[in-house]
């Protein structure tokens, strides 16, 4: 497959994790106090891999070239709208929806990138942010006939859908892959544990694995090396006879297409879209995911996306009564005190927690979770008497 042994191992590990995610993410028996930390339900698992795709693509731009876009949610949103229109006009099969979402996001990012890449550094970031906010406003107001404005869009019974036959009356249109309903789930009960296997999740996971494989190939290609050269010293690149503009534009469009793919998949899993998907906080989130996981590393963005989406779900579900349960063994006064201390960080306070975690990571682990993992691995290596090879330190972009 054109991968080194190390990269191939990484791909296999990710594939195995994806395959067994319904088990791995559901370690606690149903009904136990810890069950709220389970993440093995379809909706969340789908989000984990879809935002993984979004972050993998973002990393091709930001991690390799160093160009920090603050507007990538626009491409995700455009992809979502394109997908839903395919479902309205053509078919509820997800394949055309996903292909068109990638294509449309690619074209849109070509336009945005072509203009924004006239500047670099903070000016580039501001330009992309401006484009994304413009897209958001347009989707919200002027473009209401195409975007559904405030209410957003959903496939309806009355849509033309020229490739599909007529639905039985009253039936809601459901996204499918050649008849396989994306919402199809099988549950396996093992003692107190319940594991859910969802069709949509596995479709999204396969797409994510392909996207991950493509990103590894890009990282290891001559093109990827040029992108790293852009980040390292653009001046040297230009005085070496290389035109950095088409390189950065290509990276921008590729990452825009990944965002569109993520947007299309979101629609394939949950057939609705609203303009808030393009809001600047959504663009900021993918930046956080990439940096938190480790920008410029292969696996970092996937870890970052998983980390943020997992804790967003879990922490925002915890409420005051759950806290009281946890601290119930304490004397009353201390219990109330602890609850009031922790309370601001849970539920709606999730963003506060995320902010603190992000600050800690940027300050103490500038390489993100990947660097954290490497440090731990090195600790273990040092314990062993075997000689510590300096190998790998010299090859950037692990």
């Amino acid at each position: 497959m054109g991968l080194t042994k190390k990269d191939f191992t990484l791909l296999i590990i990710v594939a195995v994790l994806c395959l067994f995610a319904p088990f791995i993410l559901n370690p606690f028996p149903e009904g136990s106090a810890m069950a709220q930390f389970n993440a093995g339900y379809p909706d969340l698992m789908q989000r984990l891999v879809i935002f993984g795709i979004f972050a993998i693509g973002f990393n091709i731009l930001f991690g390799l070239t160093g160009y920090l876009s603050f507007g990538h949610a626009a491409f995700l949103g455009v992809g979502s709208y394109a997908a839903i229109w395919m479902m309205k006009l053509l078919t509820m099969n997800v394949i055309p929806a996903i292909i068109v979402s990638v294509a449309v996001a690619g074209l849109f990012s070509l336009l945005v990138g072509w203009i924004s890449l006239r500047r670099s550094g903070i000016y580039f970031s501001i330009l992309t942010l401006a484009f994304a906010q413009m897209s958001y406003s347009l989707a919200y107001s002027v473009l209401t006939p195409i975007t559904g404005g405030e209410t957003g869009l959903q496939p309806k019974y009355t849509d033309p859908r020229i490739l599909d036959g007529d639905l039985p009356p009253g039936e809601t249109p459901r996204a499918n892959l050649f008849g396989l309903d994306m919402k199809d789930s099988t549950q396996i009960t093992m003692g107190d544990w319940v594991f859910t296997f969802n069709a949509g999740y596995y479709v999204a996971a396969v797409v994510m694995l392909v996207a991950f494989y493509v990103s590894i190939r890009i990282f290891r290609s001559p093109f990827g090396m040029m992108l790293r050269a852009v980040k390292s010293n653009q001046q040297r690149l230009n005085y070496t006879g290389l035109n950095s503009k088409p390189y950065t534009l290509a990276a921008f469009v590729i990452s825009g297409m990944y965002a569109g793919l993520a947007g299309g998949l979101l629609v394939a899993m949950d057939t609705q879209v609203g303009a808030e998907r393009m809001f600047w906080t959504a663009s900021g989130e993918v930046v956080l995911m990439t940096i938190l996981g480790g920008a410029g590393t292969l696996i970092g963005p996937v870890l970052g996306a998983g980390f943020i989406k997992y804790f967003e779900n879990i922490i925002s579900k915890i409420n005051e009564s759950i806290l009281h349960q946890w601290f119930a063994f304490m004397p009353d006064g201390i219990e109330d005190f602890l609850v009031s201390m922790v309370y601001p960080f849970i539920g709606k306070g999730w963003h506060l927690t995320l902010g603190i975690v992000f600050m800690l990571v940027v300050i103490f682990l500038p390489g993100g979770l990947v660097e954290g993992g490497q440090r731990v691995a090195r600790l273990f290596k040092r314990r062993k008497p075997s000689s510590d090879k300096p190998d790998g330190k010299t090859t950037p972009a692990e």
Binding site: S221, S232, N238, Y239, N243
Partner: protein
Amino acid sequence: MGILEVKNVGKRFGGLQALGDVNLSIAENTVHAIIGPNGAGKSTLLNCLVGKLIPDTGSVMFDGKSVLGRKPYEINQMGISRVFQTPEIFADLSVMENMMIPCFAKRDGAFQMNAIATIPSQRDVIASAEQMLEDMNMADKRHMHAGSLSRGDKRRLEIGMCLSQEPRLLLLDEPTAGMARADTNNTIDLLKQISEERDITIAIIEHDMHVVFSLAERITVLAQGTPLVEDTPDRIKGNPKVREAYLGETQDAA
């Protein structure tokens, strides 16, 4: 007609006339040194040749074509490579990768969407990059981070990167500054060998007179933005005007 023709070039920075009225002709396949005291405008002149600066007045012709108004990468693709006064390398990449990039630029031109191929499959590029590392005596450092090299090694790497493009005109801005004596001598030997074996024209700015007199066939002395004299090394050595303006001080210092 030389391969490089600089006519009436002037450049002003605010109130400072960095280049007055520079005329310079560099003959093909020669080594031409440009010397002069600090702030004479030597680097500014090079900047005008490679598209980093656009001169206020005058013209710059390379091989009969004007370079003015062209982008740096276009000028490089015309056949002009430059080593900078402070080393410009890809500090985050390995030494080998640094050497491969100019080889790609030479083979594929200014842009190539080569996202499917793997790097190990680029045998021709790897071979020429390895050959160049060999020539620069840096083969043992190929896996090192370029940013962690010593100053002298960074400079040798940059020279190698420029040479691997096989430019027709090589511009060197103080290439041996920061190098140990042995490396300086190696560099002199390498440049000598290259200028004899290849069709290459070299313009070198240098404060180290040992380097200048070992290599140069012609010398231009620049002072306060204007060429003072241009002559052969022997005649420059004996020129009292030059001794006064420049040579005396540096030879004492050396």
